[in-house]
């Protein structure tokens, strides 16, 4: 038995003969799984919310000014990097997570956003941190009969700034050879004029994760320690980039070489840091 949401991964596996489920249960229309709600605890996203719907939340309604984006930037950027419009219209965030491909583009963002997943079965529900959800390529802690019900991004991580980058073989419809997500929070400095803190304030807290550099999306704790509590000047960023390179465990596969992964992860990390440390508007 398999649960079916958007089907963009499952249908491919069935078409290739990798899976032959005798029963498919379509959960994509279940109302409770399709809500996006902002509450005191944070932002709760139903597992069957499609990638396109997630991206829609950041678009302005016609004739209205853009609403403050409640979905953090790194998750939006990760979502936007997935496949193609066709895939995004059907595919769900839950599906991307439960498929647990190491190159999945919502995985690293949810790790850095300290996401937690509510899992539900007829035995009850439990909450698992994003970091603990993934066991290996295509393997998660989900037990038979258990579904991912919703994803919570805690309020603490709705503040601060985040960004995501990926790279693939080509510009369009590209599977990530590598992706990187960062969330951080800087101290508000006395002389900052509204808006963001810019590059000179110390980093209060930072989370870094990379995808497709290990069997699971990898939290890069050692690289984080380079930056946590420090002022992110260029030489420190370079040192952190080197730490990122050392901490990841990339392999060579049909998508690209280990050497490229090691090099380009550092580059993507620096790009992400540049974006995150820039003054960001409203």
């Amino acid at each position: 038995m398999k649960f079916l949401a958007g089907g963009t991964d499952l249908c491919v596996q069935i078409a290739e003969g990798a899976l032959e489920p005798t029963l498919l249960i379509d959960i994509s229309a279940a109302e409770e799984l399709r809500r996006i709600e902002r509450g005191a605890e944070g932002l709760r996203i139903g597992a069957a919310v499609t990638i396109a719907e997630l991206l829609e939340t950041a678009r302005a309604a016609p004739g209205k000014p853009p609403a403050p984006a409640s979905v953090p930037r790194c998750l939006l950027q990760g979502a936007a990097a997935i496949g193609s419009p066709q895939i995004r219209h059907l595919g769900t965030i839950g599906g991307n997570l439960c498929n647990a491909s190491p190159c999945g583009d919502t995985l690293a963002p949810l790790i850095v956003l300290a996401g937690s997943f509510t899992l539900r079965s007829n035995r009850g529900s439990r909450v698992v941190a994003a970091e603990e959800f993934f066991l290996g390529p295509k393997a998660t802690v989900l037990e038979p009969g258990e579904i991912l019900q919703s994803i919570l991004i805690p309020s603490t991580h709705l503040q601060g700034r985040s960004a995501f980058r990926m790279i693939g073989k080509r510009n369009g419809q590209a599977i990530s050879q590598v992706n990187v997500a960062v969330w951080l929070k800087q101290e508000q400095s006395a002389d900052s004029a509204g808006g963001g803190a810019g590059g000179t304030a110390p980093i209060q807290d930072i989370r870094i994760a990379a995808g497709s550099v290990a069997p699971i999306p990898l939290r890069l704790g050692r690289a984080e320690r380079h930056l946590r509590g420090s002022v992110p000047d260029p030489s420190l960023l370079q040192a952190a980039a080197r730490a990122v390179q050392e901490e990841i465990q990339p392999i060579t596969d049909v998508r690209t070489s280990q050497a490229y992964r090691r090099s380009v992860t550092a580059s993507l990390f620096l790009e992400v840091m540049t974006e995150v440390l820039e003054k960001q508007g409203g």
Partner: protein, 784 residues
């Protein structure tokens, strides 16, 4: 032809078959439905090499929906196909597996699903052999023979002048070895056929293909039937680029055998994975090249030794070998040229025709050499090319002289002018963002010159037959033995016929190609449709025109030379353009009706026969091509040193194509061919491991998406070709070679590193740039 005012030729008219394509009504082979139609799927070897011990279809044959499991013994004829005799490829293998996609059995069932399931259930026992994976292994002493005659498929030389003497005189020499990889056609429509047995003992095969007569011949042979009992109809074909004919022949034979045996229509439609594994690829090449010149840049000698990895079967290897040989010298006037080209068998997917046909591979090598020479001489790369460029009246590498239609220098000048014009820069959205980071971006400009022989050249007789038929209502039917697979040949034929007959485009129909109704015109390849095909249409239309003119002159009571045909009217020339009364103009409808009743013939079949190639087969010196297309490409790139990503900021593609019959179509050919060349140079690489393709899908084989497209600007140069209709030459293939070579040179200019392997992917760029920064030698990932 020259100096006439033309109404349709030279205009960018819309495709004649466009409406059915944009509405989805056009029937591709996979869209056809016949009552009682069955589906068939092949069981493939799945190992790269081995001895077939047994093939057991018994388990498969009892699965639900299965009607038959066919093996080699079920093929009535010799069970062999190929392009050039002696044919070496079985339709269904029974003795030996030479590549992983080898078809061993065919399952015929009531649904696609049932056929595929059952195909997987066919049991095969293969004693695996160590596969022969590369050219060096295949040529090594004592290596296992993939075919009885050995592992050399074909080997030829071109010898002009005396290269040893040439190099002795040279003051500057550059030398290098280049590699290109296997490229997949990746047409959007996978290979598909439907075979329908007729009650009259004939069998009709609908095929997505380029060469219906070639396919018919092989189907007939393998069915043990006379060719006249087999009819092949080209369905709308969703792209081919040289890639479908081997497979259309293979699955055409299979479907026909099954259809006749079961007396039911049978469809075979490949899935993408098996399309990539089981159909021909572009030859991978290794080219060792040296070029010698005087200090002033005059090239005096060029020598190249080329190895083509042709995979398991010969396919088009002999012709690709010859074409590579003939084009390796480049579009330059060089007195001493020596080229040796050898195609080799290996245990991988066989290689064959792919738009460009050997020319992209050698052009990359040749044009890299020219840039390397320019650097050594301290000369501007475009200037060096202009200095040595072939001009009318000069001998090319095969010693052939063209007195007309050698427009290379014009293409160089047009490109140089446009590249210098800073008021008209090409900018892609987003390309303009300024980046404060110092040294992050590397910019470079590269150019390339090329030539591409038009039509069959040394590959054999070059004939096209076309028929033009005028009906009594003044409408016209055109039939040509060449196929339209998207390149717009139907439209060009319609334009030519309409121009000659003075008929508007909406009154012309170009019929579907079927082997019953058109003349065998050989394959639609080598950029020959417009030139040789168009000429046949021109001639046939001309004969019908003279009947109409004769009739009209009687009706208008004037001399024949005073009759003009235009806009569906026969008009008295002296009164045009203000002709509007019955004494000076008559509707063509009336002329046609009258012509019929008077007994003037209204249908004509004409041949265009290109002069036979005449050359020495040992030295390849002589007259080989009826014409050459010449081109110059220029590309500006920006490389991100942090990721290796390349953005093409500008791409100029100038081609001397003689005459643009349909400029809109020309742009489409140039833009499309350019992107295929870009894929070859930057994005696409078939990955083999142990002889088995690892990336037989569109996720891991990076066909360019819309976000990877080039800002190609097509520059049309017209230096009329006396052997083509209205002076035309073809342009389908040349842009592939030009783009790939220009890209490689642009990257070299930007990075200061000469990449000698294609594709130059992001990861290769990053590795090389970082290797240079660390002071270590740049190594790109190994080519298998």
């Amino acid at each position: 032809m020259n100096g006439e005012k033309l109404k349709l030729v030279g205009r960018g008219v819309a495709k004649v078959d466009g409406a059915e394509l944009v509405t989805g009504r056009a029937k591709f082979a996979g869209d056809l439905r016949f009552p009682g139609m069955l589906y068939a799927a092949a069981r493939r070897a799945g190992v790269a090499a081995g001895k077939i011990r047994s093939i057991d279809g018994s388990a498969a044959s009892v699965l639900p929906g299965v009607r038959a499991v066919l093996t080699a013994g079920d093929i009535p004829g010799p069970n062999i196909i190929g392009i050039l005799p002696p044919f070496d490829q079985p339709v269904l293998a029974s003795e030996e597996v030479r590549y992983e996609g080898e078809s061993l059995a065919l399952v015929v069932a009531e649904s696609r699903e049932a056929a595929r399931r059952a195909a997987a259930a066919v049991r095969v026992d293969i004693e695996s052999w160590e596969p022969i994976l590369d050219v060096d292994a295949a040529l090594a002493e004592g290596c296992r023979k993939i075919h009885p005659q050995g592992n050399v498929t074909f080997s030829k030389r071109l010898i002009k002048g005396d290269v040893e003497k040439g190099f002795a005189d040279a003051e500057v020499v550059v030398e290098n070895t280049y590699h290109t990889s296997f490229q997949e056609h990746a047409y959007l429509e996978p290979e598909t056929v439907v075979a329908v047995p007729g009650g009259d003992g004939r069998v009709t095969v609908y095929a997505s293909c380029q060469s219906p007569f070639h396919i018919r011949g092989h189907i007939a042979a393998n069915l043990n039937l006379p060719a006249s009992r087999v009819k092949v109809i080209q369905a709308y074909t969703g792209g081919s680029f040289g890639g479908k004919d081997d497979v259309a022949t293979e699955i055409g034979c299979l479907a026909a055998v099954a259809a006749v045996k079961l007396q039911a229509p049978v469809m075979i439609a490949h899935q993408r994975g098996e399309s990539m594994v089981g159909s021909n690829l572009r030859h991978a090449a290794r080219i060792h090249y040296r070029t010698g010149s005087r200090r002033d840049g005059t090239i005096v000698a060029r020598e190249a030794k080329i190895y083509l990895d042709g995979g398991a079967y010969a396919s088009e290897s002999p012709f690709v070998t010859m074409k590579a040989l003939i084009h390796a010298g480049g579009p330059y006037h060089v007195p001493n040229v020596q080229v040796e080209c050898t195609a080799v068998y290996t245990n991988k997917t066989y290689c064959g025709a792919f738009r460009g046909f050997g020319v992209p591979q050698v052009t990359f090598a040749s044009e890299s050499q020219i840039d390397e020479l320019a650097a050594k001489l301290g000369m501007d790369p475009l200037e060096l090319r202009r200095k040595n460029a072939l001009r009318a009246g000069q001998e090319n590498a095969t010693g052939q002289v063209f007195e007309q239609s050698v427009g290379l220098v014009q293409t160089i000048e047009r490109v140089a002018d446009q590249a210098a014009d800073r008021r008209d820069p090409v900018r892609r959205a987003g390309a303009d963002r300024s980046d404060a980071a110092e040294g992050r971006w590397l910019h470079g400009r590269g150019c390339a010159c090329l030539l591409q022989g038009i039509s069959n050249g040394a590959e054999g007789i070059d004939v096209v037959g076309a028929s033009v038929q005028a009906s009594q209502d003044g409408s016209v039917l055109v039939g040509v033995g060449l196929t339209d697979m998207g390149q717009g040949s139907r439209t060009v034929f319609a334009q030519i016929a309409a121009e000659v007959l003075g008929v508007t485009m909406d009154r012309i129909t170009v019929r579907q190609v079927d082997t019953d109704s058109v003349h065998d015109s050989g394959p639609t390849v080598a950029s020959r449709s417009t030139t040789v095909g168009g000429m046949a249409v021109y001639k046939a239309a001309g004969e019908v025109r003279s009947s109409l003119v004769k009739m009209a002159s009687l009706m208008l009571k004037c001399e024949e030379k005073q009759v003009l045909l235009q806009d569906n009217f026969a008009v008295l020339a002296s009164c045009a353009p203000r002709a509007d009364n019955a004494e000076v103009r008559i509707a063509l409808q009336e002329v046609c009706t009258a012509a019929y009743w008077t007994g003037f013939p209204l249908m004509h079949l004409a041949f265009s026969r290109a002069p036979d190639a005449q050359f020495d087969h040992e030295t390849h010196q002589g007259n080989i091509y009826i014409a050459y297309n010449y081109g110059t490409h220029l590309m500006d790139v920006r490389i991100d040193t942090l990721t290796g990503a390349v953005e093409v900021l500008r791409h100029l593609a100038a081609h001397d194509l003689g005459r643009a019959i349909n400029p809109l179509g020309v742009e489409g050919q140039v833009e499309g061919g350019a992107l295929i060349g870009f894929g070859m140079a930057h994005l696409e690489r078939i990955e083999h491991e142990g002889g088995r393709i690892q990336n037989a899908n569109f996720a891991d084989y990076a066909v360019p998406s819309i976000k990877d497209r080039l800002p190609t600007e097509t520059i049309i140069v017209e230096d009329p070709n006396p052997t083509g209709p209205y002076g035309a030459k073809g342009v389908g293939e040349p842009p592939v070679a030009g783009t790939a070579a220009a890209f490689a040179n642009a990257v070299a200019a930007a990075t200061g590193i000469r990449f000698t392997r294609l594709p130059i992917r992001r990861e290769d760029l990053l590795a090389a740039l970082q290797g240079r920064n660390r002071g270590t030698a740049a190594e790109s990932t190994p080519w298998q």
